[in-house]
C-alpha cells in the first residue's frame, strides 16, 4: 500500500514537475510538489587505524567497506540525499584531544553524484582514532533541515576511544532534539563491548544494530537501510504536553511526539463533537536501559476530572516500546437540550499519559523517554441494540423453539376455529 501511495506521489510529483517546467522554464519548483522533503541519509564510516586488519573475506576491513560503499552508491534510490562522513580519517598522531576531534565530511548530504562520491571514498586510508560521539553530533548537523526522514548509518570496527563522552548518550540527545533521526549501527567483526555500545546507540534512537563478518552482508544491510530511508513514512509533529489538563496543548487528528521524563505525567487536550469518536494511542519507547517491569497508562478524563475510559498496558523483559490506546465515542446529542444554538458544543477531553518505566541504575534520566501519540477523531460508531447482529437468531435451538411455537399456535388456532364452528352450529 505504501508503494501505491509512493507511486501516486511520484506520479503527482512528475505531473507537477511537468507543469512547473512548462510554466517556469527556469525550473524553480524543485521538491515543492508533494510537500515532502527528500529523505536524507548520512553514512558515517570509521577510518581508524584498526580498519587495516585483514579479517573480512581475506581482505582488510577498509577494503570491504569501500567495496560495500561502491555497491551501495550504485544502488541508492534517486530520491535519497546521501552524504558520507568519516571518523578518524585524518589525524594519525597520539594526541587524544586532537584524535577525538577527527571527523570530516567526505561528501555533503545532497543529491548524489555517484562518481564523485566513489572517488572520495577511494581516497580513504585507515588512520586514526574512533571518535564516535563527535562524529554522530557532526552527522546530525549534516542532516539538519527539512522534514523528510533522516538516518545515520554508522559503520565501525571498534568501540569509541574518546571517553568520557558516551556515544550512547550523544545518540539519545540527538534523538531528543525531535528531528526524527534514526541511527543504525553496523559493527565490523565486533567484540562484546563494541556490540553493547553500538546496539545501545541504535536503541537510543529506535535504530538497528547488525554484526557484519562478510562484505556481502555489509552491502546488503547498508542497502536495506538506505532503502528503508526512502520509504515514505509519516513524520510526527513535535508537541509538548503539560503537567495538567488546564495548560495542555489542544491536538487535532495527527501523529505527535513528545518526551516524558520518569515519574512525570503528560496531558493533552482533544476536542470531540457529539457523534464523533476519539481514538488515541500512545507508545512510550525504552531508549535506554530500564528496569525489567514497566507499564503505560492512557486516560481520557473530562475537564472536571472524571475518568471516561482508560487504556493500560504492562510488560516485562526486553522491549522497544510499550503501547496502549483507547476509544471514546461521544454520544449524539439529543435534539432537545440544545440551548446553545444550532452548533453543538465540542467536549474537551483531556488525555493523560503516564508510564512506569524506571531507569536502570547509572543511566541518565534526562531527556525523557520518547513518546508517540496518535490522535484520530472520526465519525462515531453505530450503536449496538443487541448482542447479536440486528437481534437475529441462530442455531438449532432457535429452529426448535420456532417450530414448537408455530406448531402450538397452529393447534390452538385450529381448536379455536373448531370451537367457534361448533358454537355457531348449535346456535
Amino acid at each position: 500500500m505504501i508503494t501505491r501511495t509512493r507511486l501516486a506521489a511520484g506520479t503527482c510529483a512528475l505531473l507537477a514537475a511537468l507543469t512547473a517546467g512548462l510554466a517556469f522554464p527556469s525550473g524553480a519548483a524543485a521538491g515543492e510538489p508533494t510537500g515532502e522533503d527528500a529523505p536524507k541519509v548520512d553514512l558515517v564510516l570509521d577510518v581508524s587505524g584498526s580498519m587495516r586488519t585483514r579479517d573480512i573475506d581475506g581482505g582488510t576491513r577498509m577494503a570491504a567497506a569501500k567495496q560495500a560503499f561502491n555497491e551501495v552508491l550504485d544502488a541508492t534510490p534517486e530520491e535519497v540525499e546521501l552524504g558520507i562522513r568519516t571518523l578518524g580519517a585524518d589525524y594519525p598522531g597520539d594526541d587524544r584531544e586532537r584524535g577525538c576531534k577527527d571527523t570530516a565530511r567526505l561528501y555533503p548530504v545532497g543529491p548524489l553524484d555517484r562518481t564523485e562520491a566513489k572517488t572520495a571514498v577511494a581516497t580513504l586510508s585507515p588512520t586514526g582514532w574512533t571518535p564516535i560521539g563527535p562524529a554522530l553530533l557532526a552527522a546530525a548537523d549534516d542532516l539538519e533541515g527539512g522534514a523528510g526522514s533522516k538516518r545515520i548509518v554508522l559503520i565501525s570496527d571498534g568501540e569509541d576511544t574518546c571517553a568520557p563522552l558516551d556515544p550512547c548518550e550523544v545518540a539519545r540527545e540527538i534523538a531528543a532534539k525531535g528531528i526524527g533521526l534514526t541511527i543504525d549501527t553496523l559493527g565490523l567483526v565486533p567484540n562484546a563491548k563494541m556490540r553493547q555500545q553500538l546496539s545501545c546507540i541504535a536503541e537510543a534512537t529506535g535504530g538497528t544494530y547488525t554484526s557484519v563478518e562478510h562484505t556481502d552482508e555489509l552491502t546488503d544491510r547498508v542497502n536495506q537501510l538506505v532503502d528503508r530511508a526512502a520509504d515514505p513514512v509519516v513524520t510526527p509533529v513535535a508537541t509538548e504536553g503539560a503537567g495538567s489538563c488546564a495548560k495542555a496543548p489542544t491536538l487535532e487528528s495527527g501523529l505527535y511526539t513528545d518526551r516524558e521524563e520518569f515519574g512525570r505525567e503528560r496531558w493533552y487536550r482533544v476536542d470531540v463533537l457529539p457523534g464523533q469518536e476519539l481514538r488515541a494511542s500512545v507508545s512510550v519507547g525504552a531508549d535506554r536501559a530500564v528496569a525489567p517491569s514497566y507499564g503505560v497508562l492512557l486516560r481520557a478524563v473530562t475537564v472536571h476530572g472524571r475518568e471516561i475510559v482508560r487504556g493500560e498496558a504492562a510488560g516485562d523483559g526486553r522491549t522497544d516500546v510499550i503501547s496502549t490506546g483507547l476509544r471514546y465515542p461521544k454520544a449524539e446529542r439529543d435534539g432537545t437540550d440544545g440551548e446553545d444554538g444550532d452548533k453543538p458544543a465540542a467536549e474537551t477531553v483531556c488525555l493523560q499519559v503516564t508510564h512506569s518505566f524506571a531507569a536502570a541504575s547509572g543511566v541518565k534520566t534526562t531527556p525523557g523517554l520518547p513518546l508517540e501519540l496518535t490522535v484520530d477523531v472520526v465519525e462515531g460508531p453505530g450503536d449496538a441494540d443487541d448482542v447479536a447482529a440486528f437481534g437475529l437468531g441462530r442455531g438449532w435451538w432457535l429452529l426448535g423453539v420456532l417450530v414448537l411455537v408455530g406448531f402450538l399456535a397452529g393447534l390452538l388456532w385450529g381448536w379455536l376455529s373448531r370451537w367457534r364452528f361448533a358454537v355457531w352450529r348449535t346456535n
Binding site: T324, D385, V403
Partner: protein
C-alpha cells in the same frame, strides 16, 4: 395446495443447503503466488510493513531487531499469525516472541499457539504462532475486544546473549484467518475500521492534497465488510418458514380430513 407444498419444500431445501454453506468455517487463507510478497520488515509501529493475509512475507534482519508487520483483519475473522525465525549456524539459546497489537496499539491476547519459544543452542529455526480472538464488528469502548482494522505483529528476541547481538537471522511471517461465520456476528459497527491515521487520511482526501505517506493504508482484498450480512439471516428466515409450516401442520391436525366428524358423509 400442491404448489404451496412444493414451494415450501423448495424453500426448506434451499435453507438446508444454504445454512451449512454459510456456517461453514473454512480457512480463508488461500496462499496466492509469492509474486510481490514483502521482503522487508518495519522497525516500529510507524514503519511496519503492510502484508496481506495468506501471503508469506520474509525479511532479513539482525538478532535484536524489533520487526513489525501490519495486516488487515475484518469482522468475523479469527486471525492466526505464524512466524518462523531462521537462526544462524552458531548461536546460544535464545527466546523469541511474537506479539500482536490492534489498530489502537493495544496488545491483543493469543488464545493459543506458541507465542514465546526458546530455541536451543543448536536449533536452526524457531516457529511461533498466535491465534487471536475472533474480530468483532463492535464492542464497548471499555472493552479490549479485537475490532476490524489494522493489526500489528511484532517479532523479536526476548533475551539475547551479547555474543548473538546483531547476528543475521531470517524471518518469515504468514497471517491466515478462519471465518467464524454468523456465530460471531454481533450487532453494531464502527463508522471507520480501526486503522491508525484514518482521520488524517480522510482529511487529506477532503483537502485534495497528497500526503505521500500515511500511517496505515491497509484494507482487505475485497474491502471492509459492511457488516450487515451474516448467516443469522438464513437461520432466522428458515426458522420463520419452519414455524409457519409447523403452524399449518398443527392447524391441519385439529381439522382432521377437513370435514367436521359429526357431519354425515352425505350431507
Amino acid at each position: 395446495m400442491r404448489a404451496v407444498r412444493a414451494l415450501s419444500a423448495a424453500v426448506l431445501l434451499l435453507g438446508l443447503v444454504a445454512t451449512p454453506a454459510a456456517a461453514d468455517s473454512s480457512p480463508s487463507a488461500s496462499p496466492s503466488g509469492d509474486g510481490d510478497a514483502p521482503t522487508t520488515a518495519g522497525t516500529s509501529f510507524r514503519t511496519a510493513t503492510e502484508i496481506e493475509q495468506g501471503r508469506r512475507a520474509t525479511a532479513k534482519a539482525a538478532a535484536g531487531d524489533y520487526l513489525y508487520w501490519s495486516f488487515p483483519a475484518d469482522a468475523g475473522q479469527r486471525p492466526t499469525v505464524r512466524a518462523t525465525v531462521r537462526l544462524p549456524e552458531r548461536h546460544a539459546a535464545q527466546t523469541w516472541q511474537v506479539d500482536v497489537y490492534d489498530g489502537l496499539r493495544r496488545r491483543q491476547a493469543c488464545q493459543w499457539g506458541a507465542q514465546t519459544r526458546t530455541a536451543a543452542a543448536d536449533a536452526s529455526s524457531v516457529e511461533l504462532a498466535c491465534v487471536l480472538r475472533t474480530v468483532r464488528a463492535w464492542s464497548e469502548p471499555w472493552a479490549n475486544d479485537p475490532l476490524p482494522g489494522t493489526y500489528y505483529v511484532r517479532l523479536t528476541a526476548l533475551d539475547l546473549p551479547t555474543s548473538d547481538l546483531g547476528a543475521r537471522v531470517g524471518a518469515e511471517i504468514e497471517v491466515g484467518s478462519k471465518d467464524m461465520g454468523g456465530a460471531a456476528a454481533v450487532d453494531g459497527s464502527l463508522s471507520e475500521p480501526l486503522v491508525p491515521g484514518v482521520a488524517m487520511a480522510s482529511g487529506a482526501a477532503k483537502d485534495g492534497e497528497d500526503r505521500g505517506a500515511v500511517l496505515s493504508a491497509i484494507e482487505p482484498e475485497d474491502g471492509w465488510s459492511s457488516g450487515w450480512w451474516s448467516d443469522r439471516w438464513v437461520w432466522t428466515g428458515i426458522g420463520g418458514v419452519l414455524a409457519a409450516l409447523a403452524g399449518v401442520g398443527g392447524y391441519a391436525l385439529t381439522r382432521g380430513s377437513g370435514r367436521p366428524s359429526r357431519v354425515p358423509p352425505g350431507a
